[in-house]
């Protein structure tokens, strides 16, 4: 009998050992799945519960992938990719300084109809917090707190759960940009007013929450009757753009006080300067005038800051009648600059033509003919900071060359983006959404170019760093080049943080795929008569549909022709090749960078280092 007991105990030993091997607390859910062997169905069940382990297992198990995707259904792959990517994002270093970047990253990933909703992470943003609690039992407290701020948890944002607010949206421009808000407002009973409390907040997506927070900040600003947001607005930290504007306002106000305290200004000038009706840019223009034409003791930094903040004077803008000539001159000068570096020559191989235009939220773009458009504001900004006039830039060759050298990296950047689009076209996939990977590839090329120029031309070494504090473009060039120098991981991390509002390739693909497949299933469930009736609304052919961005696709999916819909779904099979392209391009740029550095970096003696 003791032997029997011992025997049974030995038999139970594996079960005991197995219990010790249960990986993480929440992986108890996936334990049953993994212990009975990996099957697509079971892994899907685990992924639907949000299991990261199951997602990693799926992506690593080629046999299961083959089984699951045999019929052309890629939904499991995208689920797995979305979860592993969210795991990567959750593990980034989040704290009070950068939770708005996390918010931007989550906007494109969590919400109604997003792939992660089928994994239990959404559509309510708070589900992200539940997922963190479940899968990261030892998640750093500071990161969790920043996640609460990033999802705009009611209690964290407003400090109390017992509160009800009424916000009127009449004549408010954000309404036009926000589909969720429009849907809310389309309710005839809404009366252009949103009543917000802890319960309605749960049904709002992150975009709408941000819109409401911005509205409250702007309302505070109006109450204060000032050009800058109300200082006491405790929600200021939730809007990076308003916060930046506020900080600018504080700095200009400080300079304003300094100018008035100097006693040099007349009372009329002082009154004009301190008027609350003046905008930030108007005040900066006045300060610029007073600093230049008086004995007020302003530092070079203050003068540069004021130059950067004020609007361009007419003589700092290229006159409309001379724009074409200037474009020809600038194209030639940029080409000369590009010839100085290998990365530039690569961009130059297909010819460069530069145009000047007014761009919103970007420094450069490409028109359909492939011509590179450079923001006229960027050119004016450089002239302001350098004290150049448009007339002198067009006549003094050195000034034109200097300006061309300053904007030349944009030609490399745009050419790299054109290459990415060509690759997508070659792979037969639709890609009209700018992704973080696009930025990594294009900014990598740009950084290689800047670094190469800096190594060859001593005058270029501080081109961007010297004015990085006054120009967002110069800051981007300097920051990216420095990050690239420190290694690919550091660089990619920096690019992702700086472009947190962009989706990654896999999240963009995952969401597009799930919408297309859902629409296909919906149509399949319709009767022939119903489908025929709906087909009158199918206004987008394949060519139009494939050029849509992810957001456009979501809004227009019901209007895509059936054939186009099928074709787009089938193209996702080639997505993997396209995703590999980014890795290959990044590796090639990195190899070129290493070769360039080996050729040109002066080997400073660090004695005794041997690998």
């Amino acid at each position: 009998m003791p032997n029997l007991i011992l025997f049974i105990a030995v038999l139970f030993l594996p079960h005991f050992l197995h219990a010790q091997n249960i990986p993480a607390r929440f992986d108890n859910r996936t334990y049953t799945v993994l212990s009975s062997g990996n099957s697509a169905q079971l892994l899907n069940k685990a992924m639907s519960a949000g299991s990261i382990s199951a997602a990693k297992t799926y992506l690593a198990d080629k046999k299961v992938q083959k089984e699951a995707e045999a019929g052309g259904d890629l939904s499991l792959r995208y689920k797995a990719q979305a979860l592993t990517e969210l795991n990567y994002i959750a593990n980034m270093d989040w704290d009070d300084s950068n939770f708005n970047s996390l918010n931007q990253m989550l906007i494109s990933r969590i919400g109604r109809d997003k792939t992660l909703s089928s994994c239990g992470v959404g559509p309510e943003p708070e589900k992200y917090l539940e997922w963190l609690k479940a899968f990261f039992p030892k998640y750093p407290q500071k990161s969790y707190k920043s996640a609460e701020k990033a999802v705009r948890k009611w209690e964290v944002v407003f400090g109390t759960s017992a509160m009800r607010m009424c916000i009127s949206w009449e004549n408010y421009s954000i309404r036009d940009d926000n589909a969720e808000l429009n849907r809310w407002m389309s309710d005839p009973q809404s009366d252009n007013t949103v009543y917000i409390d802890t319960f309605s907040w749960l049904s709002f997506d992150l975009l709408l929450r941000n819109a409401i927070i911005n509205k409250i900040i702007l309302d505070d600003m109006t109450k204060d009757n000032s050009c800058k947001p109300y200082c006491g607005s405790r929600l200021l930290e939730y809007s990076s753009s308003v916060q930046k504007q506020y900080e600018k306002g504080v700095r200009v106000e400080k300079l304003e006080r300094k100018a008035i305290a100097s006693g040099v200004l007349s009372s009329a000038q002082a009154n004009e300067l301190s008027s609350r009706q003046k905008s930030l840019s108007d005040k900066a223009a006045l300060l610029d005038k007073y600093f230049d034409g008086s004995s007020i003791n302003a530092s070079l930094e203050d003068k540069l800051y004021i130059d950067a903040e004020r609007g361009a004077r007419p003589d700092e803008m290229i006159p409309a009648d001379k724009r074409e000539i200037f474009e020809v001159m600038l194209s030639a000068a940029v080409s000369d600059e590009l010839k100085k570096a290998e990365a530039g020559n690569k961009a130059l191989s297909k010819g460069i033509k530069i145009k000047i235009g007014i761009l919103q939220n970007s420094y450069s773009a490409r028109d359909p003919s492939g011509e590179i458009i450079i923001d006229s504001g960027l050119i004016s900004e450089y002239m302001k900071l350098k004290g150049y006039a448009a007339a002198s830039v067009m006549t003094v060759k050195a000034q034109l060359s200097e300006l061309a050298a300053y904007v030349a990296p944009l030609a490399v950047y745009e050419t790299a983006l054109a290459g990415i689009e060509a690759e997508a076209e070659k792979a037969g996939i639709h890609n009209n959404t700018r992704t973080q990977e696009d930025e990594i590839t294009a900014l990598g090329e740009q950084s290689l170019f800047i670094a190469e120029i800096q190594r060859k031309d001593a005058s270029a070494k501080n081109r961007y760093r010297s004015i990085a504090g006054y120009s967002a473009y110069a800051h981007r060039c300097a920051e990216m080049t420095a990050a690239y120098r420190r290694g690919q991981e550091r660089f990619e991390k920096t690019v992702r943080m700086e472009n947190s509002a962009l989706p990654s390739v896999s999240s963009a693909a995952a969401n597009s795929y799930s919408w297309l497949v859902a629409e296909k299933s919906r149509r399949a469930a319709l009767s022939a008569a119903q489908l025929e009736e709906e087909s009158y609304n199918f206004i987008y052919a394949y060519d139009e549909a494939k050029s849509m961005s992810v957001n456009e696709l979501q809004g227009s999916i019901r209007f895509i022709e059936q054939e186009g819909l099928e074709k787009m779904i089938s193209q996702f099979r080639q997505m993997e090749n396209y995703m590999d392209f980014h890795s290959r391009a990044a590796d090639e740029t990195r190899r070129n960078y290493r070769r360039m550095m080996l050729r040109t970096v002066l080997k400073k003696a660090v004695k005794g280092v041997k690998s």
Binding site: N38, S97, K138, K142, A451, Q454, V606, V609, K610
Partner: protein, 253 residues
Amino acid sequence: MIFRINPLRDFMPCIAVYIMAFFLLFSFAVFASVAAASSVGKNEIKAADSSQSLENMPGKKAEKTNAKTAGQTAHKRTPEKTYGAAAKGLAKGYKKIIHLPYSCMIPEAWSVSEKSADREKETGVYHREFTLGSQGGKLASFIFADYYAQGNIEFENAEDFITVNSMNDADETESSTDKYEPVRKQKIAGKNAFVIERKEKRLNADAWEKEKLYVIPASKGFYVLLYSADEKVFANSNLKEFEKMAASFIMKY
């Protein structure tokens, strides 16, 4: 003759055999599943299944054993045999990281992010990033523990890494936006290491980012440990934990 059925006497052997057979089959199934589950998501972080990764390591080809043998050897190795003392007993509140090219101890509160094993194999850069506990400051604090295999795509050798990382783009060691201390030597976990200390002004956050790097040349490639934080909170407990981690660092190559 009267047959009296004694359940204990008559059926027990039979029942025992059934139970044994049942548990034998069941335990076999459980053992199989343990093997499958053990490669995924434990508290200790593994780079990948060791037998596969050893085959994939750049620079490993030059070793005497062929890939298959190396894989078999690695399979038999326990973490203790491979990495020595660091993989053994843990102080309370710490966990061990067993990444293929190294092992070390880190506080349990730190979370770890990793890239795909395929990318590590392609680039020859084995990267781990640790997210640290809250310490305040305007900038995020983080630690990298990287292995640059021989033939990696980023740096020729440790000397290249040190050269590039000990001065700015303009080849200066001091400017208005950054400052690099002279590179010095130091013993770390019994190995000769080079220490780089630098700080850079982050214009967006209006704060100085301070960093300390240990560059440890190895027989094949080199290792880099990096700690980065806002200068104001740089010398707090995270720095101490970084030093502890470096002291527990055991290299594979």
